[in-house]
Symmetry: C2
Subunit: 414 residues, 2 copies
């Protein structure tokens, strides 16, 4: 089946999903959870084929780990579905409603987006998470995963589609693109009128390709060159804890910090203190001259790209800035609009930073690692938008809907 044919089926199904009741959607989700539980052996067997191929191809250990499904990970997926069932259905919610002087009653009501396509890389849990989240918000879904996970994804999709057979939600609400070549990705990007929103999830290269080539609307996600700026008025102990957490608690994710900016007035006192904590995680520091003057040759000289790189690793770029404004200017130039943090005890600096920094999440005195749908109280997350249109920051169920105006009249003409 071609991608276009799948999208056409998805579009037709989306029309019926718009009016699906919350109960019908939750029943379908529960059926999916049950089916995953019943087909664990089959799913793990399919995953074993992907793992074998990946090992043969010499896949790196971290990637291999992300690709692997275990009993525990399948249980986590099922728990995830149960959590999504428990969330409020955003569809049907009225954002506003009022009566105009001419008697027209005008409401703005949440409704599904329609057909959501997702292009993603190796983690097979995305296949279930994304499908279930989109479905709960009344959308049809087209998933295009990576070739490394094709056996696993096919097994998961078959189980989910079969599970829908006994529910009110048609199986054609869910599609997996079988072709994992660039051709199928390009086809998805061009389906104007069939795909309402396309969300890329993965590395910077994938995201850039989609943003630059898609003709359908895109929500850009995830690339995070996040900064922690330690102000002249910072509590240095707090600052050291925050940068250590932001860098080291999980370096492979987009909300991890990549760059430490330090006000020159406290650099001499702060940098050794921060280094002592970062050393526990063997963090490699790449610094400017001022940093190296203070910390010595253990700091690698920062190269031209180091202030623009998402390291995904225990590596941290460091720079001493002459002023608050220099920190702002650095973030403006090198930030990716994801998460930015100031550590300060100054009320004025805190408020100015919150106002002036243009990013999805701007923090005072807290780790950037909190930028996450669960941590922000959205319940679950389809990704973190780093664009400004439609959604910005962690996207939950509401961000998978749009609104429409509904107008109750009694014969009004203009």
């Amino acid at each position: 089946m071609t991608v276009k044919h799948q999208a056409t089926l998805a579009k037709q199904t989306a029309a019926t999903l718009t009016t699906a009741s919350t109960a019908a959607k939750n029943t379908a989700l529960a059926a999916i959870a049950r089916a995953l539980d019943e087909h664990r052996t089959q799913i793990i067997a399919a995953n074993a084929k992907d793992i074998e191929a990946a090992k043969a191809a010499g896949m790196a250990k971290g990637m291999l780990d992300r690709l692997t499904l275990t009993e525990t990970r399948i249980s986590d997926m099922i728990t995830g579905i149960e959590e999504i069932i428990a969330l409020d259905d955003p569809v049907g919610e009225f954002v506003s409603m009022s009566t105009r002087p001419n008697g027209l009653t005008i409401g703005k009501k949440r409704t599904p987006l329609g057909v959501i396509a997702i292009i993603y890389e190796s983690r097979p849990n995305v296949t279930v998470d994304a499908a279930v989240l989109c479905l709960k918000a009344g959308n049809a879904v087209i998933l295009r995963g990576g070739k490394e996970a094709i056996h696993t994804n096919t097994a998961l999709m078959n189980v989910m589609r079969d599970a829908l057979a006994d529910t009110e939600i048609p199986a054609d609400a869910l599609h997996l693109v079988a072709d994992t070549s660039r051709k199928s990705a390009a086809a998805l990007m061009g389906l104007v009128g069939l795909v309402d929103v396309l969300i890329p999830r993965g590395g910077a290269g994938l995201i850039r390709t989609v943003v630059e080539n898609a003709k359908v609307p895109v929500i850009e996600t995830g690339v995070g060159v996040c900064h922690v700026y330690v102000d002249a008025d910072a509590d240095l102990q707090m600052a050291a804890e925050i940068i250590t957490n932001a860098k080291c608690s999980r370096p492979s994710v987009c909300n991890a910090a990549e760059c430490l900016l330090v006000h020159k007035d406290i650099a001499e006192a702060f940098l050794p203190q921060a280094k002592a904590m970062l050393d526990e995680y063997k963090v490699e520091l790449r610094g400017d001259e001022a940093t190296r003057r203070i910390l010595g040759d253990c700091v690698v000289p920062a190269g031209p790209d180091d202030y623009d790189t998402e390291f995904y690793d225990y590596i941290l770029a460091v720079k001493v800035v002459a002023s608050f404004d220099d920190a702002l200017a650095h973030i403006r130039r090198h930030g990716t609009g994801h998460s930015e943090c100031i550590v300060t005890e100054s009320y004025a600096s805190a408020q100015r930073f919150l106002d002036a920094v243009d990013a999805a999440a701007v923090y005072v005195n807290a780790s950037t690692r909190f930028t996450d749908g669960g941590m922000f109280g959205l319940g679950a997350e389809i990704g973190i938008s780093t664009q400004k249109m439609h959604a910005r920051g962690p996207m939950g169920l509401r961000e998978l809907t749009c609104t429409k105006f509904v107008i109750y009249g009694n014969g009004q003409v203009r």
Copy 2:
């Protein structure tokens, strides 16, 4: 100056506009209004050059009228600015704010989009309206109008930029692209990272070109193949008044109706009654066989494109449908997601129509002509979005902003 250079200046200025106070923005708007008032002669002289060139090129009368600036139209622009000054500033508004169990206080705050680019056709009032609306919401603006209006647009932009010189808002918040060739439009569409949102305003051809070719985020506007469906349970007099208003009160706009769908059970009674009213405006009817059987040969047989055309004229496509579901199916196939109306006395039909029709504005018993920022109470309008992402339907000041998360911590780590 190249488009890219203008966009770079706009981006730099946008960073300072983010924190501009409402008072500073309103003062700048008032300065623009005053300057337009003081430079009427100069603006009308520039417009005369465009009119002369347009006449020499044989421009159609309707287009020529849209291009013409008069004293009254300049006064209307000034009144428009005063109305925008009076509107609430959306920037700084908190959409939500709450404290999480870990003590983090997380708010979602409205902030400007950044740099908004608008590609539009001949009406020079857009130059002022769009600039002022975007500026009020804290955005920098790049306007790329049509070549027919270049003298007028240049005069208007010079007056506006000069007016900003004595205010806190930098002149580089506003830019007009001097080159009106396809090349400059293509350049704008490719400015990833400099243009935050691109809004095309004009005919279907322009909008399609922008949607399909832009690499930057786009808000699709305006194409409206709007339907009025007269249900079996309709008040026929009300239905005739609504379709006449929806078609004839201003046929050249996107919220005008293009197609009348009539339930077969009332077609014999309704069609002659509607025709009598539409005849007063000499509306040409293009109908299917059933319509022609009832109304006779005065109805032109509908051709293959007539149900997909935005006529912008006193022409109306007509079709008799066998059922409510047939009407829904027709709208799903031929509608452009703009404005759709049902006329009915049936509670169930009304509710089903509101739920099932996927459009920016869905009406019961009122003319589609109400789809407008002013009529919906938004105060002013930059356009009508027919896409689902970010904004749908009339877009006012709020739709020219995005949100960011601001997080107040006291040392939280994850």
